[in-house]
């Protein structure tokens, strides 16, 4: 069969306004989820290195479970499974944010652990020897240094989570991929539309990379 294909620029361009309506959802799920994931990550990352076993073990369990299962299964569980337990529906947007939160939270816990453990023992000893409490030592000495070292890995995780949100079209949130699919259903211009969808993801992830590079450079001045 002889297929000649013409890239339809018109179809690509005219899909943009419709696709753009998906971006707020993609951003909300990604950054909402990541913000919560960051808080989870700080908490569980620190519990993970606690000398107290009954604090450490739940943290290890959480990290292993949510790193070891696919984010798609997690969101399906939250959206379709959880309602059976709580006896009411879960909003698709909430389910998406929650899935990114618990999933990225598991990875960020490990990033936090690695960052904190990478700070030389002498930093803690010096701050304690000055009379700082353990909390003060962490807050003013360990954390600021650890956070700087974590920035590249946090950026990576941010990009991964942004891309993960593309899976959430399955639960019907109107994010980028979902909007693309709807548009294609009426225009049949899959190639053009998915290319536009891909470019929009790229625009978001590149902006994040750039922002983090600036943050890192600012941080390096302080090293």
């Amino acid at each position: 069969m002889d297929v000649t294909f013409q890239f339809d620029w018109h179809a690509a361009i005219s899909s943009i306004p419709y696709l753009l309506t998906g971006i707020p959802y993609t951003l909300l799920i990604s950054f909402g989820g990541l913000a919560i994931g960051f808080l989870i990550g700080i908490l569980f990352g620190l519990l993970r290195i606690s000398p107290v076993a009954w604090l450490r073990i739940p943290a290890i369990a959480y990290i292993e479970i949510f790193r070891g299962t696919p984010v798609l299964v997690q969101v399906l569980f939250i959206f379709y499974g959880l309602p059976q337990i709580i006896g009411g529906p879960v909003n698709a947007l909430v389910a998406g944010i929650a899935a990114i939160a618990v999933n990225s939270g598991a990875y960020i816990s490990e990033i936090v652990r690695g960052g904190v453990q990478s700070i030389e023992r002498g930093q803690r000893e010096a701050s304690l020897s000055l009379g700082l409490s353990r909390t003060q030592s962490f807050r003013y000495v360990i954390w600021p240094q650890a956070f700087r070292r974590m920035i590249p890995s946090l950026g990576n995780q941010g990009i991964i989570s942004i891309k993960d949100t593309s899976l959430f079209s399955v639960i019907g949130v109107g994010e980028l991929v979902r909007q693309g699919q709807i548009y294609i259903a009426t225009t049949f211009s899959a190639l053009e539309v998915y290319l536009m969808v891909a470019l929009m993801y790229l625009a978001i992830t590149l902006s994040l990379s750039l922002a983090l590079r600036l943050l890192e450079r600012k941080g390096l001045v302080g090293q």
Binding site: S127, S129, G131, Q145
Partner: protein, 257 residues
Amino acid sequence: MIDIKKKPGAELIVRMEKVNKFFGSLHVLQDIDLSVTHGEVVVIIGASGSGKSTLIRCINGLEEFQHGHIEVDGNQLLPNGKSSKSLQTIRTEVGMVFQQFNLFPHLSVRDNVTLAPIKVRGTSESDAIENADRLLEQVNIADQADKLPGQLSGGQQQRVALARALAMEPRLMLFDEPTSALDPEMIGEVLDAMRELAKAGMTMMIVTHEMGFAREVADRVIYIHKGQIVEQGKPEEVFDNPQNERTQSFLGRVLKH
């Protein structure tokens, strides 16, 4: 001159009684009995691995010990770290200078010095800065106050570390090989600052391999071997006329070269 605020109090500032410490099965400190009086400069010498660092780190609770008792300026340190209440009190009264400086790399030199007074003592920022600048002046480093530690030489960093510890107005200063990580040409400037401090009357416990300096500033030299104090006395007694044969052979090795 660095001025030292002396509180009236017990004549003894450190009293260690039958202190024993183990790292696993290694008996690092064995029945250490050691008292230090106010204003005294005690230098601790001994071979690598003999327990010098461990000994002084027990005094500010950076290391726990298993048996015995330590009293620092009237505060009790108990075995196995069971002294959490007095630990922070002790640490605010006891300054420490480390071999690797351990300055906070994300803070300016001045902020390194003001951090603890502001956060621990509740000193106002302006007072803390004024005091920091005065201390930095005393260790000849006032012009570096706005730099980050990483931009300074080792000798300069160690003098900042000294100023940082002094900013808490400690009653006792611990030094763990403060010049061992320095290039030879920078050792002098750090020893000068310490000499100044000793002259000002600071109580100091110093672990060092600088025997010339030890002889000059020490009121008492302690030789420790395999976790035991085997000999102590005035520097001229220990250096010129050591009684214990282990001290003799150690000094024979380090003084000859």
